[in-house]
Symmetry: C2
Subunit: 212 residues, 2 copies
DNA sequence: ACTTTATTGTGATTTAATTCACAACAAGTT
DNA sequence: AACTTGTTGTGAATTAAATCACAATAAAGT
């Protein structure tokens, strides 16, 4: 069981690069093409594939269609992933309007908030009272949610999500969430991202280029 | 020169935890308090500090005020960091309204777009034509920018930023930007973040807990 | 003043991730 | 059919990151 986050992120990047190559009409690809595309070494590509038992043809490289299928399977893209957003603020609005999840099989199903002014039961992506979250999550079998509320209410909102059956949270609130043992938290902290960027800009050069 | 991104991110987290402790009235802190606060080992905390020549008192731990000052210096928080946003869409709007950068000394100075409908020269954070970016960047000595345009225009927009003198980009477009050698790119790819989350939810447990 | 206790600071060790390097081999060439 | 070429697949080596473990030592207690 591979638990190296960077490795999994590379798989996503390979997949994205492969989509492009395919759309350009390519059928086969070599490890060094993929390596160039995402900025790693060819060894790294082959090792990553090897870790997941993905093989190509010696000499012939890899068949793109087959690779995409295998990567899709590993990353759980063989079905549509239903996602909710908790907190219907500006960020939620941006995510709901982002056309880019769809092609990745990610479907934002609904947003939830405590503010009645935000409710929009009949919108394309409905905004519902947070009390309705549990029913919604259970009946739609949602496992993953985005947490986009202010820091002050974040832990409470997360707890509500866990209680509803959510197993993974993409957390935009700038704090460390406490979570049950079988749940996963991925944090996106924009202050920290910018701060990090400033550090690497300051120490000059691109030594700190996105290490992922 | 430390170029371990995770290490730098930890410094930011220590800093955030320290702000809280300070606001709670604490004056001193031990490595294991900080470790608990951000979810790493006490050794890791001390090693990180040691790497940057930060020392405390044997027995007495670290003085919070002094630690904050040193971390601030390392992370470039001893002055306000001026930042621009390129692309005035929903995400830019969310970032411009986010009250959370301010306390970190991050100031969003302006946004730029090609669409005249978006222009708002006199808004609190002005939205200006992209042609004005270079002048703005030069005269305000901006070094860091957020790239929040659709994938299709992202590389061109980035090139404009580099030409204007931007040295670091926080890139939300889902592609690998080509950048000059002395420039840093940090990517935030929400499709990939969600895909990654789905992977770790699927392999169950929280093995993949945010590795940063 | 001496002893105990608690904590740092860091060299040594371990673990994890990446890169190297090359045998295996498929496809094409003579 | 033998030879050449180019690419994979992976064990071995290397590099990087994290953890361990303990001497050094400051503060508190006796």
């Amino acid at each position: 069981m591979i638990t190296n986050r960077n490795c999994i992120i590379r798989l996503s990047r390979y997949k994205n690069a492969l989509y492009r190559l395919r759309d350009l009409g390519f059928v086969k690809v070599f490890s060094d093409n993929l390596a160039d595309a995402i900025g790693v070494t060819a060894s790294q590509v082959r090792k990553d594939f090897s870790l997941f038992g993905i093989t190509g043809n010696r000499k012939g490289g890899y068949e793109i269609a087959s690779l995409l299928e295998k990567l899709g399977g590993i990353l759980g893209k063989d079905r549509v992933e239903r996602v909710i957003i908790v907190g219907a603020g500006h960020l939620a609005y941006a995510l709901m309007h982002y056309r880019g999840f769809e092609k990745e099989g990610i479907k934002i199903e609904a947003a939830f908030d405590i503010d009645p002014l935000k409710f929009a039961k009949n919108a394309q992506i409905p905004v519902l009272p947070i009390e309705e979250m549990k029913d919604f999550v259970v009946s739609n079998n949602v496992k993953v949610g985005v947490l986009a509320v202010p820091e002050i209410g974040a832990q409470r909102a997360a707890d509500t999500m866990f209680a509803a059956g959510i197993k993974g949270i993409l957390n935009f609130a700038p704090l460390r969430l406490k979570a049950p043992n079988d749940c996963t938290i991925n944090n996106v902290n924009l202050e920290i991202e910018l701060e990090n960027l400033v550090y690497f800009v300051n120490i000059l050069g691109k030594k700190g280029e996105d290490k992922i």
